[in-house]
Structures are given as structure tokens and as C-alpha cells.
Symmetry: C2
Subunit: 486 residues, 2 copies
């Protein structure tokens, strides 16, 4: 062939309609390896499960974890709602938004459901304080919950249906993530934004009552819209990714509900999602044990608004502070023994602005000892410049030891009176082994909502989330998450 | 490390703000190869060009090809506007659309600019009859033109600015496509949907007057939203892809205009677009000869609404038909000598429905001889069942010969009176070597608009497109492309 590319001639000029019999032959005329037997019917199997799974089938533990996922998400979405990222996005979208169908959490504006899903999804990721499926580093609530919360405001659904959809959406995103992780993430994809649209489409499709055929199409349309590259980390585009994953998945479900067609095997086909987007495909992660084992039950919540590598040290510091009622002036010196990753990632000695505080193990330990917390407030400019915190962080030293695992931390505090306090953390709070308690989660959410919603409304919002499976109308969650009119 | 993944600890908990100095170190703590020297400043170089390029700088040939790109696109967008794909999409979107800011071509509904860009982009790909940048098989107008046409209806712009933005958008999509083609396409990506958002963002960003910094961010946001997998070919989702690429790119530009931040090197960074989405990266294709050589000048338009592999045979058949004023009853037999790909892809003997006709070289030749055309009407159910066409196609035979190149065709017609007519095609009409003439392009557009717009309006629309660089307000194009109110 001369200057022309063979691919050009393999293009078929197919109109956008469902292919007739025999069409597949022409389309796949280039010899391709057939997918392995395990790769057959992946999209079909998942769609069948999603359409048939009932709230009644969910084990109590899974339901409860779903509620915790909801509560944590509502907290981070309200908490992020005042950030410049949201102000900029709202200003960009406002002239083009449809009817005021759905709430922007923590704000007075209302957008159409697709734009509201986007904005709320962005807001929930701003502090990097959202939920984490630790096996894949997916933040599954970010794409899933805003899609169905917006839909619930437009199209009333019961709390049970809402919670069932939430769990199924989280399950879908995490299982699909498992199938391609870690290769897919290592390549450069922000996995929350690429697996997320499947979760949002599954959850929204469940609430819309899609047929199995429509659910396959919704998954196909979700597969066609992956979002996010790791290069964007450190810019507003990182938070953009879960928001766009939410609106992409919702859009996929809404189109499928109108019989907008797609492939029936988009996840596993030779030129489908997993083969195109990853060098690893383990389809059993998607299809095996559906309705029996739940990835959604393994969701975790960050107790501290900074990188997980610092969490053992923070946990140890807060435990010793509370146990001995320590005040900063009592403390002569603090020594952390930790994995070398800790200094590699968070070795900044003298942070000058709030964000830099997250990259300073010295600040992190000092602020935890002074304030007994490490939420967004502890990573403000105010916090890193507080004279008491600065003085204490200068008395913190770190000794690295590769024998200490990244999830461990060994903290020793020497008091001015000569006492030596010691705490070894095998797993920090917020891990699968030592999950945040319900009470800790409540306090986190209350803290995030403080100054944005009145205290009474926050109390009501938290209670509404805990009681979600008793709600006649899940839209109440959104209504409680916006500031009152007065 | 036990059950935990090292990646988990390398997550930094960065808030979504521009990273402070020193942040990059922590973020890239895993040892990565530095990008090669050619990979530096790719996004910056492109953004600088886009922001500074003026209409006055465009060579006349490039301007004229831009006008032809516009005209062809308007034709296919109007032509696709009545298809089920659009009816379904419009039904899905209507309840959520914003103000009626922009036209849906060929229809009376109006949507907000983002949803209008989507719908018009989908419509233009439905017949697979749109423009093609043959080096990459990108259909560049599909993502680019609907984004800026919608914007022009909202935010008045001159025809010169519109045409300049159109050329820059096409140039951007095709250059970025060149950098990763063919590996990226071979992997399974629908390259129109993945390179397309860059083109739409560049064009829309140009009309919005973005600064260089904002243009870099717009490209970063576009990079974060690739669309489309080849597995969807044969379903409505194939046409979805250019439409979503259009709205994604427009959204990227609108956010960047509000200073929504992204990376400054999203195209070339280690975990940026090209490295993540392709195994080939040739950045010189993006940065070299900007403003000197124009990919936009290499755009082509399909004269026939079917796969390019059949075009030499159709071209030969129509030329002989017209030259000898042939009628079907005069024809005893027809023999095509062609590359084996022709039968591999279009060997269907007895097509029963219109779409199947595209995969039948026998139908294609017969209908071209009977009707002198091969547009969408020639691939209707009516056409493949026409008794005269069926009778003639049964007298067509094909002999394959690997020495004949795919872009060639050798047609021999034996008449009942004993005469033998012969035509060898080296390059079919519609190729770079034998482009469609302006008059042929006009007839294609008129044919596509027939029955959707009144004839007088079609004439006016075609003239408006030819005169685009003289328009005070480019929105006139859209106004001419909708049915009158009467």
C-alpha cells in the first residue's frame, strides 16, 4: 500500500444503528485474537446483576457501610463547596445550566441534574478527604453519590432504593477498578475518573429502572467517557475528574433510558474498555461473587485531611495527647520512627502556606498534638503559622527505618518532666483494620459543615443520612445539605 | 509491604489548588524517566500558537479548505438530524437543557450551547459521511464546528474569527492525532473522540479570547476527557463520540476562561495524555511548522456514503454511466478487479436492508450505475430492494488481485450490444489527489438537506457558508440551517 493506510480501508462507513447479522464479520475483518473464555459476557453478567439486585438482598453490614459512605460524602461535598474551584465552576456553568432541578450542596444555587451532579462531585474531592477503596485507590462516592442525589431530587425515590443504588454503583466502580488495577493506574489514569462513570451509570440506571439491555448500553456509554490523568494532580482538574465522571455516568444512563444504543460487551470486547485502557484485565474481579462478596463493604474514610502516609503518626500523636491530656509546653521533644516514604513524601521542614503543611510530617505531628485533629482547618495558612505549632514542630525529629511498614508508625514523646511516652501504631484509624467509628465519622462531617450550614441543620443532615433507608424521599438529604433561605 | 499498596502511600492528599514550589518533588517522588527534550513545552508551544495565530496569517488555500470543511459539516449535520439517534438524544436531554441559546441543525428545538454542540456533533457523524483527515482517520469537523457554531450563537463573532478558530481547531486535533497515530487507534481508541476535545477546546478557546495560561488549562481539561472506543462502531455510540468530544472541548474552554486550573504540560508530561493513551508519541507533529504547514489543508470529504474501499469502483461506474449515458437494460455484465480487501469488507451478495448495502460491493456498483450517485438515499431499504438494482447487481462479479492497491479499481462493463467499456481508477474522487470539486461538494450538501430544509433555504445556507469570511455574525450559518417557522 502506498501512502494510504490499511486502516483507512477497514473503516466501514457504518451508520449509527444496531448492526445487522453479518456486520460483525466485516467490522472485525482484521484477524484479532478471540477474548479468553473468562472474558465472555462480562458486561452482560454485570448488567443482569445490577438490574435484578434488591435492597432486601444487601447484608446489614453492607447497608451500614453504604450509609457511612453517604454520610462521609455529604460532609466532604459541603466542606468543599466554598472553594475557589467551585466558585469558578459555578460561574462557568451558570449561564448554560438547565432548570434549577437539583441542589449544589452547601450553596444556594440550583442547577439541572447533570450540572449539579458535576459540581457536587467536584466539591467532594477538593480536600482529598473523601472515601477510599484501598485496593484500587478509587474514591467511589465522588462519581456515584452526586449522580443519584441529583436524580433523586428530580425523580422521587425511596431511601431504600437510593441506598441500594448507591451500593451497586460503588460496587460497580470498585470491581471494574479491581480488574485493571494497578497497571491502569500506573499508566497515568486517575482511576476514580475512569472507573467512576461505570459506577454512576449503574447507580443512576438502577434508579431509572433500566432494562438489562438498556443497562448494558449505559455501561457502554460510560466506558466511552473515561476521565482524568494523573498529571492533573495538584491542579483543580484533579477534582474535576470525579465530578465529570458523575455527570458522564448520569448522562449515559439517561441516554440508555431512551434506547440510545451501544455495544453489549464494551467492558471486555477486543477493542473495548479494559483492553484499550489497561495492560491488565482480570474479569473475574467483575463477575465473580456478585451479591456474595461486596467491595462496597471495604470502603474507608480518611480521619485526617492529608496523605495516608502521615496517618499512623497523627493517630499516635492524638492518642497520646488525649490519654495524657498533654499541652504543648509540656513537650520537650518528639521522635517518629517511620518508613522512608514518610520523609520522601512529607519531608518539608518549614511549611509556609496551608497546603504545604500536608507535606510536612513535622507540621502534621505538631498540629495533631496542639489541636488534637488534622482536618482541613489544621492545614490552613493560620495553622502552619501558629507560633505554638511552629515552636513544637521544631522539636519534632524523624528517623527512617525500612523495617517499619508504611502503614505503621512509632512515636516517642519526651516530656519536660522527664517522662517518656510511647505509641506504636500497626494500622492507623481509617484503615480497613481500624475503621473510623460512626461517632468519629459524625464529628468529621460536623467539622466539615461548620460555618457553611447552621449547627441545627448539620445535626438534622447527619440524622437524615443515618436514617436514609427509612426515608420516603431521598431528596431530603440534598435539602438538608443547603443553607436555609433566611 | 503487606496488604497495602505502595501507591496508596504515594497519594499526597493535595487540595485542588495550584501547587506551591516544592510540591512537584513530593508528587513525583517515584523515580520517573524525564521526558525527552523534544517532549518539553509541547502544550506551551501549541497554546502560544493558538492564542497568537491570526486570520490574516492563513494562506488562501487553507482558508478555502476551512470553508469546504464548514460546508461539508453543515450538510452532514443537517442530513443526520432526523435519525433515531438524534430523536433519542433530544428526548433524553430536553428536560435538562439550559436556555435555548443555540440551534439544533435541521430541527426546531434549541438547547443551551453545551447540549447543542453535543447534538450537532452527533448528527454530523451518523451517516459516516463527514470529513476525513486521511493520515489519522480523524473526522475533525465533528468535534470542532459544533462547539464554535453554538458559541457563535451565544457570543457574536465575525465570520473571519469563526473561520480562523475552525482552522485552528482542525489543525490542533489533527496534529495531536498525528503524534499518536497509528498505535493509539490500533489500541482501540476512536481517535476522533480522543483528539477531538483538543480541537474543540482550541477553537472555542480562541473565540473566547483565552490567555496563553488559560489556553494551556483548556488543553489540559480537554486531555482529561477523551471519548470513544472502537468497540462501539456499529451502534449509536459511534456517533456519540464526536458529539461528546465537541461538548467536552467547549466545556474545557468555558472553565479555563474562568481560571479553572489544570496542568501546563498535559499533552507531553510523564503521566499526561500522550504517554497514557498511546505507545507512540511524536511531539514534533504537534510543534513543528506551526503556521507554516497546515494539516487543515489536507482535509477530505466523502463523495459516497459508504466505506472508502468501495469508492474507486463507484467512481468508475459513475464516470462510465455519465460518459456513455448508460441505462441498466443496456448492461450485460460488470466485472470489477480489485484488492482483496474489497471482498473481505464488502462481500455481501444479497443485502436485505439499507445498511447492509454498504457492505455489498455488488449493490454499490449496481446502484451507482442505476442512479449515478451513492449518497444516503442509495443505502436505504428502498434502494437495496429496487428490482432493477437487484437484477443488475446479480450481473456484477468481482475478481480480486493483490497487485491492485486498495485505493485503485479496475471496472469493465460489457454491454448487450457487444461493446466493452473500461475504466481504471488510480485515486477515487474525494482523495487528496482527486478532491471533490466545490460544485460536487455543493451537490452533496444540497442532497443531504433535501426534504429537511426548503430548497431556497438550502441555497442560502450554501451561499452563507461560501461567504463565511465576509459575515459580520457567524451565527447566520446556524440560522440558515434550521427549518423556517412558517
Amino acid at each position: 500500500m502506498t501512502q494510504y493506510d490499511r486502516r483507512l480501508f477497514l473503516k466501514t462507513g457504518a451508520a449509527a444503528v444496531t448492526a445487522p447479522a453479518g456486520f460483525a464479520l466485516a467490522r472485525n475483518a482484521v484477524a484479532d485474537p478471540l477474548p479468553s473464555s473468562e472474558a465472555r459476557d462480562v458486561t452482560r453478567t454485570l448488567a443482569h446483576y445490577l438490574v435484578t439486585a434488591r435492597f432486601e438482598d444487601l447484608p446489614e453490614k453492607v447497608r451500614h457501610e453504604g450509609v457511612r459512605t453517604l454520610l462521609n460524602w455529604v460532609g466532604v461535598a459541603v466542606g468543599g463547596s466554598q472553594h475557589d474551584t467551585i466558585t469558578d465552576a459555578v460561574a462557568a456553568i451558570a449561564p448554560f445550566s438547565g432548570p434549577p432541578q437539583a441542589s449544589l450542596l452547601g450553596r444556594r444555587e440550583r442547577f439541572d441534574i447533570m450540572n449539579a451532579a458535576f459540581v457536587n462531585g467536584v466539591a467532594s474531592h477538593i480536600f482529598d478527604y473523601d472515601d477510599t477503596h484501598l485496593k484500587t485507590i478509587i474514591h467511589p462516592a465522588g462519581p456515584v453519590v452526586p449522580a443519584i442525589l441529583a436524580l433523586a431530587e428530580y425523580h422521587p425515590v425511596s431511601g431504600q432504593d437510593f441506598l441500594n443504588a448507591l451500593v451497586l454503583g460503588v460496587e460497580t466502580a470498585c470491581r471494574i477498578g479491581n480488574a485493571v488495577y494497578p497497571n491502569h493506574y500506573d499508566a497515568g489514569w486517575h482511576i476514580t475518573g475512569t472507573a467512576g462513570p461505570f459506577g454512576a451509570a449503574a447507580a443512576a440506571g438502577k434508579l431509572l429502572g433500566l432494562s438489562e439491555q438498556q443497562m448494558r448500553w449505559a455501561l457502554g456509554l460510560a466506558a466511552s467517557q473515561p476521565v482524568g490523568l494523573r498529571e492533573s494532580f495538584g491542579s483543580m482538574t484533579k477534582s474535576f475528574n470525579p465530578g465529570r465522571a458523575a455527570s458522564n455516568g448520569l448522562f449515559a444512563a439517561l441516554l440508555a433510558a431512551r434506547n440510545f444504543t451501544s455495544s453489549d460487551s464494551m467492558i471486555e470486547a477486543r477493542r473495548g474498555w479494559a483492553n484499550t485502557i489497561s495492560t491488565k484485565q482480570d474479569y473475574r474481579e467483575i463477575t465473580e461473587g456478585l451479591g456474595q462478596r461486596y467491595e462496597a463493604a471495604l470502603n474507608t474514610y480518611k480521619p485526617f485531611a492529608c496523605g495516608i502516609v502521615t496517618h499512623p503518626a497523627i493517630d499516635a500523636a492524638i492518642q497520646l495527647r488525649n490519654q495524657y491530656a498533654l499541652t504543648p509546653d509540656q513537650i520537650a521533644s518528639v521522635q517518629l520512627r517511620a518508613n522512608p516514604l514518610v520523609l520522601e513524601l512529607t519531608g518539608k521542614k518549614s511549611p509556609q502556606i496551608g497546603l504545604e503543611g500536608k507535606f510536612s510530617i513535622y507540621h502534621v505531628i505538631a498540629i495533631a498534638l496542639v489541636e488534637g485533629a488534622a482536618g482541613p482547618k489544621q492545614f490552613s495558612d493560620r495553622a502552619v503559622r501558629d507560633p505554638q505549632v511552629v515552636a513544637l514542630r521544631n522539636r519534632v525529629s524523624v528517623q527512617t527505618d525500612a523495617k517499619i511498614l508504611p502503614e505503621q508508625g512509632d512515636l516517642t514523646i519526651t516530656l519536660r518532666d522527664g517522662r517518656i511516652l510511647h505509641k506504636f501504631i500497626a494500622h492507623a484509624v481509617g484503615s480497613v483494620e481500624v475503621p473510623m467509628s460512626d461517632a468519629q465519622l459524625e464529628r468529621k462531617v460536623e467539622d466539615l459543615c461548620e460555618g457553611i450550614l447552621p449547627d441545627a441543620r448539620v445535626r438534622h443532615l447527619v440524622e437524615t443520612c443515618w436514617q436514609v433507608s427509612r426515608l420516603d424521599n431521598a431528596a431530603l438529604i440534598a435539602q438538608d445539605a443547603v443553607p436555609p433561605l433566611t
